[in-house]
Every structure is written in C-alpha cells, then in structure tokens.
C-alpha cells in the first residue's frame, strides 16, 4: 500500500531535555523520523525544547519549534500550524504523555489532527497497568501477580494470592522508602506497616517477586497490513530486579531454545495486536523463570525506545526510520533494507556476532547516593560493543565504558577478602557487579555459588570464567610467543593494555615492584619484559604486530552474510585465517578521508552536545568532498547511525582500537586527518597516541590543547598576553596555604586534591575560617596539595565560543551566565545576547579571545570562560576545542558553527565560508536540567561539580519570557501568585533585594528565616518570619510539606549552613516546588514571573527567527 496522500503535514514531538531514562536515543529516532518523512514530501513540524539535538537543526523540519513540550504550548503550535497528523511515538514518554493530554483536552479533535503510529486508546491500554493486565489476560499471557492494599488486613488477603517472596512498595514516595522484599510472613507484615506509614496516600503496592528470574526484551515492528517482525531479542545478563536501562544486556538472546524463543515471539506479536499498536516499533519485556521457563509479561512500550535504538544499532535495522514510514501508510515489503540495498524491510534481521550493552553511572557526582541499582533507572549513558563471541563483546564493552577498565580488572577491595565480605558484595547490585563476580572467581568461588547469590545465568558466568582462566594462563606462563596462541587471547577480547598488566603479573617480583619496573626503562625493565613477553601496552602491540596478529573488520549486514552488504557498518574481531589470510571486509576506499572520533558513552559533562558536534563534522566534511569515517561506541547517538558518516566503525575509543582502524583505512586512499576536538575529553585523550603513531590531527594541535590544560604552561601564556587570571596558588602545608591566602587576599576558594567526607570545596573569608578548614576538612601534604584561588564573589560568568582559521577570529557566541561564577558552567543558565554587560566589557572579551586564539594557534573552535567583576575581565579557563555550548550557540544564532569550524579545520578560510553573525534581535536562554529526583538523599544544590544531564532552550523576543520558557522547558512551573520563601546567605541579601521587592509588588506573600527576614524588613519589604529547622516547629520544612510554599529562593555558603538547609531543598524536590539556589537566578525568575503576568507565551518557529534576523 502506498503512502497516504490525505495527510500533508505532520507534527513530530521530541523528547525534550536529556534526563535519566530519556536520553539522546530519542534524538536518534526523531532525526530518523524527520528525515524519512521529509523525504516522502510531507511538511514536518517539530517541537523539541532541546537545542543540542540534531533533529532541531533547521533543515531537518519545515517548522522547528524549540519550545517547552507542555500540552498547552504544543496546543498553540497546533493552532498555528494546523498539522494533519501528529506522530507521538518518537519522543519517548514525554511525547506520548503530551499527545495523550492533547487528546484529552480535545485539541486534536478541535483541529482535526490524527494521531498516527499509535492512537490514544492503544497508548492508554499499554500505559495503564490495570488495562494492560486485562489485555494480557485476554490473550492468555501471564502478568506478575500484583495488587494494592490500603490496610494490613487487606494486605494479608493479597498475600494468599501472591505468595512469598513479595515486593512491597509504598505509593508516591521517592526511592521507595519503607518498602522491601519479604521472604516470610513476619517480614511481610513489617514491610506492609512501614510502607503504609511512608506512603502519603496510605497505599502499598504488593508485587509477586520475580527476583532471580531472567529478563528478556523483544523489539517488534508492525505495519498496517498486520505484518509483524521481530527486529531483535535482547537478554539481560542481570536478573530481574535491576531496571533494564541499568542492566547489562546482550543481543541476541543466548539461553533460549527455539521452542521458548518462538513462544516469546508469538507472545510479543500477540501483545502488539491486542494493545492495538497499528504501525511502528514497540518493545515488549518478559520475565522467564529459569527453573521451568514460565513466561510473564512485564510491560510494553508502544513507541520507539532506548532498547529500539540499541536493537537498531545491534542489527543495522533502522527501527525509527521504518516506523515513521509505516505510520504514513507504507507496508514493510515496500520499504528497502538500506544495508543490503537488495532486500525489503519485511524480514527479521539475523546476526552472526554478539552485542553487549553496559550502562554507565554517575554516582560519584551525587554524594550521599548509594551506588545500588534497583527498579528505578539511574544510569546516564551506555556503551555497546560487538564481538564474534561473548568474551570479545564483553571485554570490548568494558574498555569502551571509559571508567578506567581495560577488561575484567581486579576488584582490589576484595582481593584476599573474607567470604562474608565477598558474598555480601556479590549480593549488592552495584555498577561493578560483573567485575565483582569475576573477582569472586579469582577468590575461589564456584559459578554455582555466584549464581546462587547474584543470580547471573550460569552460561554467562562460565564465559567470564573462561576469561579469568585465560588471564591466569598469562599470569602463569607470560605472553605467548606464537601467533596462534596470541590470536586466541585477542579473540577473547583482551586489550593490549590488559595483556601487558597480566604479563607483568607473570613475573613474580616481590611487593608489586614489577609494575614500577615495567613502567621504567633500562636493563631491569628489559629483563622483566623478556621474562613476561612484554610489559607495556606498546610492547604488547609491537609483539602482536611482529606476529602478524591484527584484527579484521566484519560487516553488520542484517543477514549473517547471506547477502552482500552495501553499507559499510563495521566492527573488529580477531579471526583465524581459514583461506590464507584472516578475512577482512573493511575494503577501504581510495578517497581522501577524514576520521571523526566520537565521545563514547554519555556521562555527566559529556553528552549529546558533543555528539551533535561530531555529526556536524561528518555532514560538513562530507559536503566538502571528503569521505567521513566515524568511530564511536555509543548506541544512543545520531553519530552511530550508519547514515551519518560514509563509513562507521562501532568500536571502543581506545588508542589500540582506533589505531588498528586507522591502519586499515590507510591501506588505501589518503587519510587527511583525524578530528579529535569534537567528541569531548574522550578523543582528546587519544591525541597523543595518534600523534606518536604519525597520524595527522586536523585543526588545533594537541600540544596547544595540552598547553591550555597545563596550569603552569597556561599561566606563562597568560602573562605573555598580559591577561588577568584570578590569583591562585598551590599549598602543600598549612603555612603555605595561609601565606598564599594572604597574598591573594580573602575571600579565597579552597579545593583539596584529596577529599574527606564530602567537604570538597569551601569559600573562606578570613584566616580563622581557613585554619578551621585545614584542620578539619582536608589532609594537606606533598601528595595532596590544596589549591587556593582568589574567589570573585558575585562575579558575572561569561562563556565565549569562537572560531579561528589562523588569519581571523570570529566570536560566534557570547553567553552571559545567570548564576554567578562558582557554579559549574554546564549547570548554569545563560543568555544570548548578554543581558547586562557593557559594550566595553564585551569588546574587551572579544579582544582577549582573539589574543588567545592566535596565541594558542587555534584552527577551529575554542571556548573561553571569563568572569567579570568590577568592570574587570578575568580569564577562568580556555578550551581550544568544541564545547558543550556549541549546539546552543548554533541554534540561538541560526548558524551551523560546528560545520563551519570543521571546514576551517580541513583547511578552508572563514572568509570563504558562510558569515557568522552573532548579533540577534531576540533572546535565547539555555537552562540546565538535573537528575536529583533519581538520587534520594542527595542535596539538590549547584556547585562547581557538574550535575546536570541535559539542557533546554527558551527563545523569545526579550530576556524575561525567554527565561520563563527555559524554566517551563526544564519542568519548573513558575507560580503566578502565592507564597515565596526566601532564605539567603549574608552576601546575597543585597543581591536578592530586587527580587523580593518585585515579589511584593506582584502580590506574593514573602516568608523568610530570621536573617533574611530582618534584612528585608529593614528595607521596608513586608515579610513573615518562619522558623529554621533548628528553631522549633512548625518550621519551614513543615510549611513546605503542607503545600504552603509555591516558590523558594535559598542560597547558602559553607559546609555547616549547607547541611542545615538541606532538608529545605529535599522537601522542595519531593513537593516539586521550584527552587533556586542562587540569588541571580532568583532575580531572573521574578522578572520572568512579572513578564508572564503581562503577556501570554507565544510560539514561533526557529526558521522565522533566522529569516527575520538575516533581513
């Protein structure tokens, strides 16, 4: 059936900011959907508040609305654009919920908008637990037994049905406080009581425990002719109990017989039919009892998902693109399989390799959060790896994580530990659980014992044991000296680095001196290396190359080699030669080629913004006539779409893996260079290894990048250029610290390099405070010095993004932060254009930018952070590479600066490229989005440590409304009336005065704790005094919990007052009350509220802003 011609325009809803559980996989799917439907000639209207996405690039849609994704705002877009259809299945839960609300509000009916992909009824049936369960009953599929109780008696009745063990969860609490798993009746009664007590609605959910069951996912695609295909099966290595997003997973399923697999296949398709997902991709999750195969449906998502992105990358089948085409009426047999170019999309991919996904966590960023995994997702990113066997696949994934692992690294804390300790650690689902299992093996645990405690399927444990045994083989005998044996090790996925470490362990040097000697030079090292086979990564590599042991590249072809693959989508493997040489399918071209290194797994501080830059490098360099080659290992991204670059290698970003690819690519054609400046820290760390190997690096030299990061070298350059940095020094003793502080002048910011008990950083105002800090908070010694910096209190921070081509420097964006200096720039809101800087200051920053760009010999992008205080510009930091703010700047000014920078790096001049004009007559505000609600117990306060996972952009004519939109986009609902609680630190009292005054003018009631209340009262502002928590009840937290507060301004300084006020912020988080922890943001909020009183929010497409500003 051909595509529908009765619809002409389609509204696609994006997923908004990157948050835990909803990350850049929805940019990948949304981008595919935009591209696919635009190609079909439809007018595409897009809404997404996230400026760092590829989908919001102006050419991806006909009208792009970077506006908050709320039903009210989207209704306005619908009113304005009158789309014929709305596609809600590409933007995660956000898009589904928004579409459902629009339907309930009657907006869709009013404007005659048809929901395509999945209709409201199907979404509701899938999302509503009761309806879903009923639907599953109808098709004869079991669901986990569960029920809700409001009393102990009711709970005991339920127990009869559900049985033990049972899981108790109090309703409407964060993190499930009060709940637990009951294995006997006594525990059951205990948890029922604590849950009922903890739940504000006196409600406890009681679920049959499936702990220890195996978990599977099926990715299903259906078209309107009822053709159903399974794209991929996924097996969780983690048993039930860990959220699938946090689970280590493999594809395809490895421990099912065909009979079981087909039941699951039939069941998945039956679920789609029953729920009524007419077209598109869905994900169905199952739990399987390993003892008898009993199959239970856990849930289904009637939309593309994180798993569908993974399945797409794992198989080469682009689920989102196909789903978008199905939504407009095509059937699967009418869509071509891009990979083979010869077969249709109506088939089931079959693969001849193993895919492993391992999530990446950020617990270290959230002090106070226990690194324990549960049914609520906490990971911030993931790595995917492909190997010809599970060993290779797992070990590649481990090193691709970039968490310092080079394989199954030893868990030192458990070396020689007692069985109690090891068993206890095995029982905890931590991010390192797989390494713990491996360590337990080294400590003498059997697979059966580990399976008994941790629940991993014995098949996976046996494969890990094979790796540990192979490691022991190297430890016992040193590295093998023949190609066959070395290839055998490499084919199990061992990295050169790992082999070097194991080789050192093979030489029994007392007291671990082996490692020190191995790292050195001279005769002893040579002797050691001779005994071990090799002792450094470089030596292992040299040995390997000497023996001719190199990886080959195999293609991801959707069909296990049954047909020829047209699309070069590849992964490495070590194969035995069977027809002479090991067979390599890379077939490098004879073109001029540029390799772009991606950013690896998402993490806090390095996410979608850098992937955006990498994609743009691909697009721009391809336009410039180069062959583009992407290397990355993050399955969520657009950069790992086989459509983004000419050639894609899905590989870990380590020196070894990258160098081997470059070796193959250099066999033919000309490698013009490698782009390392766009993927964040990940590729930068490889720059030295690439240079050492004689690989040309495009753009700014790695040495210049290093110069900017080296404290001392950078200070010299700053002096030479006669620029000003905040005064600083490094103290190794108490006396030194005092001396430096005296020299700099108080206040100073103290940062230890070794942290005790969470008192990481403190601003001190005088010698007594400094003394106290040194004595109680840190260890100062030669090994762990304290950094002492001049603290620029109340300074304005500014980010500058610029491009330099060697002859010319163009400032692309000058972003004034809302929060004062001291808050991590990635966590600050900021505005283009600056809202309160004088022309002189701006000119001075431009001058300094130019000086630094030339001084560092920048070719391409650079980012500078300035602080402005008392009309003085201080240089905080320079990064001669793409920064996090690049996509925001590009979206704000409507110029693709990453593309322009890419072409500059490839040798073109700015004068020959599109003009960059940063002077816009509207305002764009970026706001950060935080995952605090995922980490109960963590203080939701901004600090120099970055904590945000994503960002939104608010764009409008003036600053106040643009700021209001940014807050709305970040899910903060600003009140238009009610009570504001203000409690600020001493130095902020003056700063916050305008906000308080404005609040009073707008009729808000102000409550404040004593100090702030005194100050405001003195200034003639009416204020009600409220108790601090320590001052007796009712205190401010009581008032917050009683819903008496609508907005909170709370700033603090110093460890003690932070601790004292933590409960305020925690209560605000639970109550979803907007809270601002800096005075400057508080002022911006009040301005926004005032503006919202005076005008309603209007929506406007990016394209119209750009057009208007160009004329």
């Amino acid at each position: 059936m051909p595509k529908r011609t009765d619809i002409k325009s389609i509204l696609i809803i994006g997923a908004g900011p990157i948050i835990i559980g909803q990350a850049c996989e929805f940019d990948y799917s949304g981008t595919q959907a935009c591209k696919a439907l635009k190609e079909e000639g439809y007018r595409i209207i897009l809404v997404n508040s996230n400026p760092a996405t590829i989908m919001t690039d102006p050419e991806m849609a006909d009208a792009t609305y970077v506006e908050p994704i709320t039903p009210e705002i989207v209704a306005k877009i619908i009113e304005k654009e009158r789309p014929d259809a709305i596609l809600p299945t590409m933007g995660g839960q956000t898009a589904l919920n928004t579409a459902l609300s629009l339907n309930k509000m009657g907006v869709l009916e009013k404007y005659g908008v048809e929901m395509i992909g999945a209709d409201a009824e199907a979404i509701d049936k899938a999302e509503d637990r009761e309806k879903f369960k009923a639907a599953m009953d109808k098709i004869g599929l079991e669901s986990p037994r569960s029920a809700v109780a409001h009393s102990e008696a009711q709970a005991l009745e339920i127990l009869e049905e559900i049985g033990l063990p049972a899981i108790m969860r109090p309703s409407f609490t964060m993190g499930g406080t009060g709940g637990g798993v009951a294995y006997n009746r006594e525990e059951f009664v205990h948890y029922v009581r604590t849950s009922l007590d903890a739940s504000p609605t006196n409600e406890v959910l009681i679920d049959e425990s499936l702990i220890g069951w195996k978990e599977y996912e099926m990715e299903v695609v259906r078209d309107k002719a009822d053709n159903c295909i399974i794209i991929c099966s996924i097996e969780n290595v983690d048993p039930m109990g860990v959220h699938t997003g946090d689970s280590i997973t493999v594809a395809p399923a490895l421990t099912l017989t065909d009979k079981e697999y087909q039941i699951m296949r039939n069941a998945s398709i039956a679920v789609l039919r029953e729920i009524g997902v007419e077209t598109g991709g869905s994900n169905v999750q199952f739990a399987v009892n390993p003892k008898d195969g009993r199959l239970v449906v856990i849930e289904m998502n009637p939309r593309v998902s994180r798993s569908s992105a993974l399945a797409s990358k794992a198989t080469g089948f682009p689920i989102a693109s196909v789903a978008a085409k199905l939504a407009v009426g095509y059937t699967l047999d009418e869509i071509e399989n891009d990979i083979t170019g010869a077969t249709p999309a109506s088939f089931e991919p079959t693969i001849d390799y193993i895919v492993t996904k391992i999530p990446r966590f950020a617990f270290e960023k959230f002090k106070g959060a226990e690194p324990l995994l549960s049914t609520a997702m906490k990971s911030v990113g993931e790595v995917m790896a492909i190997g010809r066997n599970i060993h290779e696949s797992m070990q590649k994934a481990l090193r691709g994580l970039e968490t310092g692992l080079d394989g199954f690294n030893r868990v030192q804390a458990l070396e020689g530990a007692s069985r109690e300790d090891i068993s206890a650690e095995l029982a905890r689902a931590t991010p390192d659980r797989l390494l713990v299992a491996a360590q337990a093996m080294r400590e003498g645990y059997s697979d059966a014992e580990i399976h008994g405690i941790a629940g991993f399927d014995p098949w996976f444990l046996a494969r890990i044991r094979e790796i540990i045994d192979a490691e022991q083989g190297v430890i016992d005998n040193g590295l093998p000296n023949d190609a066959q044996a070395l290839r055998k090790l490499k084919s199990m996925g061992f990295s050169d680095q790992r082999l070097a470490k194991l080789a050192i362990d093979s030489v029994h040097v007392a007291g671990g001196a082996g490692r020190a000697v191995a790292g050195g030079h001279g005769l002893v090292h040579d002797a050691l290396a001779a005994m071990a086979g090799a002792t450094t990564e470089a030596e292992v590599r040299a040995l390997r190359h000497k023996l001719g042991v190199r990886p080959v590249y195999k293609r991801i072809d959707t069909c296990a080699a049954e047909f020829e693959a047209k699309t070069p989508y590849m992964y490495s493997s070590y194969e035995a030669p069977i027809f002479g040489e090991p067979e390599c399918e890379a077939q490098p071209s004879d073109r001029k080629k540029i390799v772009i290194l991606g950013g690896g797994p998402n993490r806090i501080g390095q996410g979608i913004e850098f992937d955006y830059c990498c994609c743009h490098a691909c697009f721009a360099l391809s336009d410039a006539g180069f062959e583009t080659i992407m290397i990355n290992c993050n399955p969520e991204t657009v950069s790992t779409d086989y459509d983004t670059s000419d050639r894609l290698y899905f590989e870990p970003l380590t020196a070894e893996d990258v160098l081997e690819i470059l070796h193959v690519e250099q066999q033919s054609g000309e490698l013009v260079g490698v782009v390392v400046q766009f993927g964040g820290q990940t590729p930068l760390k490889l720059a030295q290894a690439l240079e050492d190997a004689g690989i040309p690096i495009l753009g700014t030299s790695p040495d210049a990048i290093d110069l900017a990061e080296d404290r001392e070298r950078f200070a010299k350059l700053v002096n030479k250029l006669k620029l000003k940095q905040p005064e600083n020094g490094m103290a190794r003793t108490r006396d030194e610290a005092v001396k430096i502080a005296d020299r700099i002048g108080y206040p100073v910011l103290l940062r230890p390099s070794f942290v005790l008990g969470g008192r990481a950083m403190e601003i001190v105002d005088g010698p007594a405070q400094l003394e106290n800090y040194i004595n109680t908070a840190v260890q100062v010694s030669g090994d762990s010095p304290v950094l002492v910096d001049q603290y620029l209190r109340d300074a304005v921070e500014v980010d500058v993004d610029a491009i330099c081509d060697g002859d010319e420097v163009v400032v692309c964006g000058l972003l004034q932060h809302i929060e004062e200096a001291g808050v991590h720039s990635g966590d600050s809101a900021c505005s283009i254009p600056p809202y309160s800087l004088s022309d002189e200051i701006i000119a001075e920053m431009e001058r300094q930018t130019e000086a630094l760009a030339f001084g560092l010999k920048v070719r391409g992008l650079m980012n500078i952070q300035f602080a402005v205080k008392n009309n003085e510009v201080y240089l905080i930091e320079v990064n001669p590479r793409a920064s996090r703010t690049v996509p925001f700047v590009a979206k704000a000014i409507g110029v693709p600066i990453a593309k322009i920078a890419s072409r500059v790096m490839a040798g073109e001049k700015l004068k020959d490229l599109p003009v960059i004009n940063r002077h816009i007559d509207y305002t764009a505000v970026k706001e950060a989005v935080f995952p605090f609600n995922r980490f109960p117990g963590v203080d939701p306060i901004l600090s120099p440590e970055m904590k945000s996972t994503g960002e939104v952009m608010g764009i409008d004519q003036g600053f106040p409304i643009a700021f209001a939109k940014s807050q709305l986009g970040a899910s903060a609902i600003l009140p238009d009336s009610g009570t504001i609680f203000i409690s600020v630190k001493e130095t902020d009292k003056k700063v916050i005065e305008p906000a308080a005054r404005l609040a009073e003018k707008l009729g808000f009631k102000i409550i404040a704790t004593s100090g702030t209340a005194d100050y405001l009262a003195e200034k003639g502002i009416e204020v009600e005094r409220v108790n601090k928590v320590a001052e007796g009840r009712p205190h401010i937290v009581d008032r917050i919990k009683d819903d008496e507060v609508n907005l909170i301004f709370n700033t603090t300084e110093g460890w003690q007052s932070l601790k004292d006020s933590k409960s305020i912020r925690a209560a605000a988080l639970v109550g979803k009350i907007p809270i601002y922890t800096t005075a400057t943001a508080s002022n911006a909020v009040m301005q926004a509220i005032e503006a919202l009183r005076e005008e309603t929010l209007e929506v406007r497409a990016l394209q119209s802003y750009y057009k208007a500003s160009q004329t």
Partner: protein, 423 residues
C-alpha cells in the same frame, strides 16, 4: 590459500574440512570422530540447532551455523525432528559450551558424538558463508581426529569423488519404512510438552485448530477452520524425509495422519481411503526422487485427491503439474525469510508477508509454471517461487516450512487450509 599440498596442521587442530577444490579449513573437532562427505551449506537461524541437525532434509549436508555460539541450551529429547540427526555434521565458530537451560538433558557435543555426527569449531564461519554465497555450496569432507592426524590427500580424493546432491535421491534413505498411524502427539507447549493424542481427541475441533490463545502458533486463520467437525479427516502423509512437526501441525489442525514410506504406490495410498494426501519435505534432488514419486502424485491429482506439499513435496507437486525445478546457487537456509502472498485469491490477506523457515537448495522455476498452476507465494529476498496452487483442484504446496521448528510460526494457516478443506 591453504591448499592440500601444504598440510601442516596448526597446533591443536583436531578437525578439518577439505573442500573438493583443495581448500582446507582447520578447526577443533567435537562430537564423533572419523570423516563424512557431503555438501557444505549454511543456516542463519540463531536458535534451533538441534532441530536443524535432525531435519532429514539436511541428509547429505554439512551445516555451517552462522550464529557463533551453538550448544548454549544443550539438547533434549523433545527438540528433534527425527529419531536421529540427518545432517552429516556441522561447522561452528565457538567451542561447544556447557549448556544452560532448564530443558537441557545432554550437552550438544556429547549428543553429536553419541549420534555419530562430526563437528568442527574455531572456524571463521562468516568467511566460509561468504564463500558459499559467492561460489556456491561446495562438496567437502569433514573429519575429526583427536590426535590431529589427517590423510589430507585421501580426504580430498573422497571429496572429489563424491557425486554431489544433484541427481541424488536421498528420500529413500531417510524415509520411514512402515505405514504407521501418527500417534506421537500435537504441538509443544511450555510446561506440557507435546500434546498427547488423547488430549487432542478430547479438545473440540475449534480449539484444536488454532482458535485457542495458547501461543503455540502465530499464524492461524479461523476462516479455514471447520467448526464442529465430528470426525478427523484422514490424511495420508508421504514421508520423503519429513520433519515430525509437520505431523504435529496436521493433527493440531484436526487431521488423523497415517505416515507412509516414500515409495508407496498410488493403489496402496488409495487403499487407506485418504481424505487428502500430504507430500513431505525431504533431502536431495526433486528430479531424482521424482522419478518414482511424481507419477504417484500425478495419479493423485487425476483422482482429485486434495494435496498439500512442503519443500521437496512442493517441488514434486510442481513437477507433477508440469513445471521444472532448478538447483539454486546458494540455497535458502534460515529462519528469517520473508514470503509474500501473491496472485490474487487471498482476499484481505493478499500481500501479507510471512516470516518463514527455509531449507532448500533446489527451487521450482517460476517461469516454467503451466497455465494450470497459479503462483501463490514468492520470496521477497530473491523473487523465487514459494508457493503454488493447482487451478480447479484442492492441491497446493509451499517451498518453505510452515511447520517451523526451528523458526517463526506465522504459517500455521496452511495446515488449517488443507485439513479444513477435507471431507
């Protein structure tokens, strides 16, 4: 290229594959020792290795499994399509591991050894598959010796001396030799195993015919089902090397099945008073088996006996109707093959795509179909013929395996259509 003239075995090489062109593939042997000669094919299914090994259609063949980890779930007594394996051996990437599955009864390598089948692991099966794709399925010898001693010249001579599958009638070797009522039950269900005959008898025709929601199949079509049939129509199934799951599907669809040997005559069949005759799958060249089978099928057609053929049975039905068959370059072997319903007469399901299990190296040449034959299915991979129906008769066949096992169960409706059309 490693050629027979350079036969130094790598260390630890205990298995070898010697292709007739002199190419040698070394590996680690498992299962039985000794050697076997046959054609090397590949199968791209990711599950169901035990079903594949026991499928009689693989007689004379050595199966390259493209999925690297084989043996993960072990073997059991249920997942077999015949009493013993028929494939000569298999070639896999990874060593066979200890199984992990609640249904496991015996490790795969042990099962192979006990059944006299040879395996080789440690082979770049993808490279081998690509070679088969490009150069066609080669004749070869597979051998396993724990000491790694191979007389390569002798093995090569064997591979070269083997005549190949073309023109070979293997059905005679794998068919059952007695006429037997099928009493081994219906489809497999989790927690129950194969449905017992008495259970099937007890259940009504409607639930037995796929209207239940037991997830035993995925492709039932109620319009074919005759609700309320009191008596099971009698199907005589000619066994050219049939997979058992075909019989299980037939009884699931409501038939009483009598299995007869490949060379059963028309008169012998008619003496059984069949309501319909089923033509099974099987190994080898349809033209060779057709020498004795096609005349019987032609007589059945003339007698207006309803017919249903699968794979080899389908090919011979086409031969009987006047079409020709051809040896394919690489064959279709996997569990992901899309087949589309074409040619009209499908009502609302025209154009629907079934994902099917396939295993065939010969195919009906769609160009040679006479006017009396209607093409009903085609492969969406290469357009080759996948189904025919004889115009004006209740006789049809499909090239693929609606009985699945292994593979998707999208095509159960064919059994319903056949059995539902019998009286």
């Amino acid at each position: 290229m490693t050629h027979a003239h350079n036969p130094a075995a790598p260390e630890g090489a205990t298995g070898i594959l010697v292709l007739a062109d002199g190419t040698i593939v070394w590996g680690r042997g498992f299962g039985a020792t000794g050697s076997a000669v046959g054609e090397v094919c590949f199968n791209t299914a990711m599950t169901g290795y035990q079903e594949v090994m026991t499928d009689p259609s693989y007689a004379g063949q050595i199966v390259t499994f493209t999925f690297p980890h084989i043996g993960n779930v072990g073997t059991n007594e249920d997942d077999v399509e015949a009493d013993s394996p028929h494939a000569l051996g298999c070639i896999v990437r990874e060593d066979i591991t200890a199984p992990s599955n609640f249904r496991d009864q015996k490790p795969f390598d042990q099962w192979m050894a006990e059944n006299g089948r040879i395996g080789i692991s440690g082979v770049d099966t993808r490279a081998l598959t690509r070679r088969i794709r490009e150069a066609g399925a080669p004749n070869a010898v597979i051998a396993h010796d724990p000491e790694g001693n191979f007389d390569i010249d002798e093995l090569l001579a064997q591979a070269r001396a083997w005549a190949g599958l073309e023109g070979m009638d293997l059905a005679k070797q794998v068919t059952g030799h007695q006429t037997q009522l099928w009493d081994k039950g219906g489809l497999w269900r989790l927690g129950h195993g194969y449905a017992k005959m008495e259970e099937l008898e007890a259940s009504s025709a409607s639930s037995a015919a796929g209207l239940s929601t037991s997830l035993e199949t995925n492709g039932g079509d109620p319009k074919f089902v005759k609700v309320g049939a009191n008596e099971r129509p009698h199907v005589v199934a000619i066994d050219y090397g049939a997979k058992r799951n075909i019989f299980r599907n037939l009884v699931k669809a409501g038939a009483k099945v009598t299995v007869v040997p490949a060379e059963t005559s028309f008169d012998e069949i008619m003496a059984l008073k069949p309501a319909g005759v089923f033509l099974s799958n099987g190994p080898g060249d349809p033209a060779a088996t057709g020498v004795y089978a096609v005349p019987v099928i032609r007589q059945l057609l003339e007698a207006d006996i309803p017919l249903f053929g699968i794979c080899l049975g389908h090919q011979m039905l086409a031969l009987a109707a006047g079409a020709k068959t051809v040896k394919m370059h690489q064959g279709h072997r996997g569990a992901n093959h899309p087949v589309q319903r074409i040619g009209g007469g499908w009502d609302t399901t025209e154009g629907l795509v079934e994902i099917t299990s396939m295993n065939h190296g010969f195919a009906v040449d769609g160009e040679t179909l006479p006017d009396t034959v209607h093409e009903t299915h085609k492969s969406l991979f290469d357009g080759s013929n996948c189904g025919i129906e004889i115009i004006g008769k209740k006789a049809f066949g499909v090239q693929y395996h609606p009985e699945a096992s292994p593979g998707p169960q999208d095509s159960f409706y064919l059994f319903e259509k056949f059995v539902g059309g019998l009286s």
